[in-house]
Amino acid sequence: MKKILSILCGLTLVLTFGVSLTACGSSDDSATDITQGLDNVNLEGFPIVKNPIKLSLFAPGTGMQEWSKMSTNNEYTQKTGISWDYTTPPLTDVQTKLNLAIASGDYPDVLFGLGTDNLKSATLVKYAAQGILLPLDTLIDKYAPNLKALLVKYPDVKKSITAPDGHIYSLPSLTEPQPSSIWARGPLWYNGDWLKKLNISEQQLPKTTDEFYDLLKKFKDGNLSGNNNDVPITDTDMNSIRSWMMSAFGILAQDVFVENNKVIYGPTDPRYKDYLLYMNKLYNNNLLDHDIYQQQDEQKRAKGNANRLGVFSDWFSYFTTGKSENQSLDYYMFHPLTSTDSPEAVAPISQGFQMNAFSITKHCSNPIAAMRWVDYFYSEEGANFIDSGPEGDLYKWETNNQGERVRVYVKPDITPDNAEDQRGKISPCYGIVCPYLGVYLPGIKTQAQKNDPLYSPFQNFIQSQTDTILKPVGKVPFPLTYLTEEESEQITDLSSDLQTAVQSWEGKFITGKEDINTKWDTYVQTIQSIGIDKYVKVYQEAYDRYQKD
């Protein structure tokens, strides 16, 4: 029996090796010549290829419509001569599917719209090192005039998307300055109804942590909804409040951030202790929602709909309150606060672009065509095309009574309420990290609103709030960048261990399960023993490299 078993084990081993070897063998063909297929490409204009070609594309699907049925895709295929074999697993399964595809060696020509959520930067660097992804710099230089111009215009983007080996393996998703593109996360919003009841004008909104405390106290004592169950400030799991309140004490991230060219780890900084003390004070005085660690978005929204919330986080305030856009114009944005730790207001903002939106793999038989194909999206015209579809499907251009060009919905049954749904059915750039230049166009109007001002009151509101409140004090905590494979290996485990530990302590401190003053030193020691020094060092090196480029 033993003998049989050992023979069997041996056999299994041999078999598994055989399979994995053949798998490697099949994927390990010689390095792709990036200029292959050049003969078939028109270097300018459309169609892109002389003879139609078929490539394959991998992207996250949002389930609104199959990609092969989206009119935008089909129209663009007509225009370019490039048709696609689409693999679009649901957002939830994208990572699994991609890993399987890569591991089995049978992966598509192009990775589209993944973003750092679905294709981690560390993974990208690894794939690049294995030769799975093609370096795109030469292609951009020669065949992508639109993108090339943008990278000159925004040198920061170029710095960020360049991998440590000096090559670019993935294209970004850009946004021409539009207000929400600098939001690192959803802002906090004040309940406009309550402010009115308390006679507080926009100018009187709190600017310091003490004023903020007083306002929350007024919210609590005022019994403004009349049910005695008002919640002055809430969130789910502290996710958003955290960054707004920490920055009031000068801590820009619950992770590493840059201060005067030096990388600092926030959660062990003495100022972080003041943040904890402040939040604990809010919690103890029933100002911070006691459900904060239990509730989900659903419960938060239910409270918002019942008008029980004073200050809350969300992308737009009406997501939580369920009001209309025009009823939300006095739900003002939270103004970043100052404190003794941070006499000048600062707030974390994002760089306004996202990485890992488009890569070409070595299986691609015509990288130049693929690059020209995507480059169109980095022009204003092309961006509008891939975002809102071909003219006539969702909208058409018309002229309003002021002589301005305005986009109008083509069908009367398309309204602003269902327009996003409709758009998701015709355009791939819906809810994913699209490789394009997101331009800030006036919203599409219904026939009836055609002569209204180009930008809706709500668009204007968001614009002015962002410009006056956030922009002047905004600071990027840590620039987007790639780590080397070695660096990623060193910190991947560390990073999640740290986050878990820091957040669990944060919860205990804020809810008062542990006393901040007596336990602070223990906490700092615990966190430091996990390996802060190594962690900060890696990021400091990455930051120095980023600065040097």
Binding site: M1, L8, T16, V19, S20, A23, G61, T62, G63, E66, T87, T88, P89, P90, L91, T92, D93, T96, K97, L100, A103, S104, D106, T116, D117, T175, Q178, S180, S181, A184, R185, G186, T236, D237, N239, S240, Q296, D297, E298, Q299, R301, A302, K303, N305, A306, D314, W315, F319, S350, Q354, M355, E420, G424, C429, Y430, G431, I432, V433, C434, G438
Partner: protein, 301 residues
Amino acid sequence: MSNKNQASTRDKLFSLIVYTLLGLALIIVLYPLIYIISASISSPTSVGSGKMWLWPVDITFSGYQVIFKNADIWNGYKNTIFYTVLGTSINLFVTLPCAYALSRRNFMAKKWFMKMLVITMFISGGLIPTFILIKALGMYNTVWALVIPNAASVYNIVVTRTFFQSTIPDELEESAAVDGASDLRIFWQIVLPLSMPIVAVMALFYGVGQWNGYFNAMIYLSDRSLYPLQLILREILVVQDMSSNTTNFSTTSAEMLQQKQQLVDVIKYGVMIVSTLPVIMVYPFLQRFFVKGVMIGSIKG
């Protein structure tokens, strides 16, 4: 006299305790069911705010309306029923003869086969090699990827084999053989009719497994029109919490999540009912076999 009284108070006490415990168990089991049914016809706001905790509040059927209009859900439903029927048939077709053969004392190499089977319970190829195998066999993105790789469950074969061993005596087979019946005929006309409990139990085990299975479909299917119900539900219901997104977020993602979130709020509970109803409805009809079948199979040897 007093003894008798004492005994009856004890009996009463005993019954009381039994009923209380059973009652508690009933509540624990029943409450989530009622809650989901009520929630499916209550307004999402009252469910979210906790106003609805037992009976429906602000009754609305909008969730069901959305579900019944959703073509994806129905297509998934159709696929799931097809996969379940086909898959379960194949499962039974493989499991029953295999178990029967293994249960016969005069079957040569029985021990060797058993060992080979059992080994597979502990050693498997792993995900990626299996994936490569399925692709190489041309089963990727076809129905077969869902019904062939899991055609036989060794555990179920062992249970079935034990059932045959303990309920079908060898003498029965011998006498049939004396009367001139072939092996196939013995299996079809004598053994199977006597083994309906185990057939029903296996059908239920396999059927529920196929009905709820989503992992194989997720790995092996790429064409949306082939997706089973569970995969469609997963796609609709699993929404990232918007607020947990730290960086790399844009207005279009926010708007998409918001739309999806609203849809999910409305249909979440309705969909749970729609997707579990068939299984719940089939169960009572199989239940009488169920207890007997599992009990008999439970002593392995």
